[in-house]
Amino acid sequence: MLAFVLTLVLLLGIVIVLAYAERKVAAFMQDRLGPTEAGPYGSLQSVLDVVKLLQKEDIIPAAADKKLFKLAPILIFAAVFAGFAVIPFAPELVPAGIGIGVFYLLAIISLDVVGLLMAGWGSNNKYAMLGAMRSVAQIVSYEIPAGLAILSVVMVCQSLDFQEISYQQGILLNRFSGLEFEQNWLFGIEALGIDTTKIGGITTWNIFRAPILLVAFVIYFIASLAESNRAPFDIPEAESELVAGFHVEYSGFRFAVLFLAEYSMMVLVSLVAVILFLGSWNTPLPNLTALKLANWTTGTIGGVSGILWGGFWLLSKTFVLLFLQLQIRWTYPRLRVDQLMHLCWKVLTPIALAVVLLAGIWRLLMI
């Protein structure tokens, strides 16, 4: 229960910051000022937006399927929020450390799609329905390359446990029960004979441990943009052209929940990218000669310093990825539907399949 509340509070905090950052980043990239009035530099803007939404009337269209309409936002948010349960925030700090976290996450995130369809169908509005169909088509398609990219990580790490994958990517490798005698090699190639177990830092991140995962990371990142309906894959919503996609009929609190779910999805996919590819809560600074940077910036496992350092690295890496998501949104034009499907089925999926194969071969080099 405590974990639930803490995660929810943390998530709300991140989402508020993110919503504010989105507006500021967008403004700066377009040579504007962005919000300036609410609080210093407009920093209370997103808080006020939430308060405004909560005050608004909760309109349920007369012709809507009331049950589905009311339930959908909660289901969507619950599906995304449930994903956070298996995210490790620091060594020994994970809301629910289950052994098949990756599998669970992929499964629970897919529930999101059901919620989207419920919202679109329940609204009894052709635009909402079309928006929902597009969303679902897009998310279902892009789950394939994303899933394959994650699969290659799972093959390299030989684990479905997020926490174990995290431990593997740093100097704390041998502290995880079951991995006491594991070793990390530079680029994962044992034949090179360079042992990086004690060097840690960036050299043991998954994208360095098995450089083929760099490709997997790019694929996952692109697919994750599509899964969270972010530009350039935001046809379902297309704020500037369409009304709003599947949530066109929503207002007030339910809209706020949908909004929250959308931003939570962004945070979640970035967190997963960081954990699977970018060293999770491990420090990027390696131990080199006498400079034990990795040891200094890791803290003691299970202690306060360990939690603080772990949380700091995890969140700062996540924010870098989130910033990249924002920047991409304000840089690239939207893809057409056929281009979207072309990219998914004819480009990303075949490459992802090849990456899975290569990752398997790489794993053979690592042992």
Binding site: V25, M29, D31, R32, W330, T331
Partner: protein
């Protein structure tokens, strides 16, 4: 640098390069966000030479100065107005309303030395109708009707858009009218008396 459009089937590296150059562009603008454009007036020679920085003008707190000869809200310096009615006549939308009352004695002089002989109990300009053509200011013989640099004068009630420039209170106006009437009556009486006297003589 010459720019060429990407072909539909450009190679992988071409596309990657163009994607990266897009990111570079937005990043450049992001890093320049510390700078602001100076709110210099359009007359300034640097007005068009500020390629960098945020363009937002936080209007009520700062404003770009307007040109001296810009056409904004009208102002009438009633002390200098000789109530010649020229402005009301030329106005294409008839938004100036002037009522005049002849003065019984000389009122004084305008600052450019013209004698004032008329009072203006009503001198209203309806800014809601005004089309800011500026004709009234050009015909004004004493240059008392001018354009000010004020452009932010929206009102909640449209009645407030009518500007009253008269310096006479209604009582004063009534008094002046009475004075005039009295003088005219006196003059008429004097005239009648003179006429009667001539008749008697003749």
């Amino acid at each position: 640098m010459e720019r060429t459009a990407l072909k539909h089937k450009a190679g992988f590296w071409e596309v990657t390069k163009s994607l990266l150059s897009g990111l570079r562009l937005t990043w450049k603008h992001f890093t320049n966000a510390g700078k602001r454009r100076n709110p210099v007036p359009v007359m300034d020679k640097n007005y068009f030479n500020q390629p960098e920085g945020l363009v937002t003008l936080t209007y009520p707190y700062e404003a770009i100065p307007v040109p001296d000869n810009g056409r904004y809200r009208l102002h009438n310096e009633i002390d200098d107005c000789i109530v010649c009615d020229l402005c009301a006549k030329i106005c294409p939308v008839n938004c100036i309303t002037i009522e005049s009352v002849k003065a019984t004695e000389e009122i004084g002089m305008t600052s450019d030395g013209t004698k004032k002989r008329l009072y203006a109990p009503v001198f209203d300009i309806d800014m809601a109708k005004c089309c800011y053509c500026g004709l009234c200011t050009t015909v004004c013989p004493t240059d008392c009707l001018t354009m000010t640099p004020v452009y932010d004068f929206a009102e909640v009630d449209i009645k407030n858009m009518i500007y009253h420039f008269t310096d006479l209170s209604p009582e004063e106006a009534a008094e002046k009218k009475q004075l005039l009437q009295k003088q005219q009556e006196e003059m008429a009486a004097a005239k009648a008396a003179a006429l009667a006297a001539r008749k008697q003589q003749g």
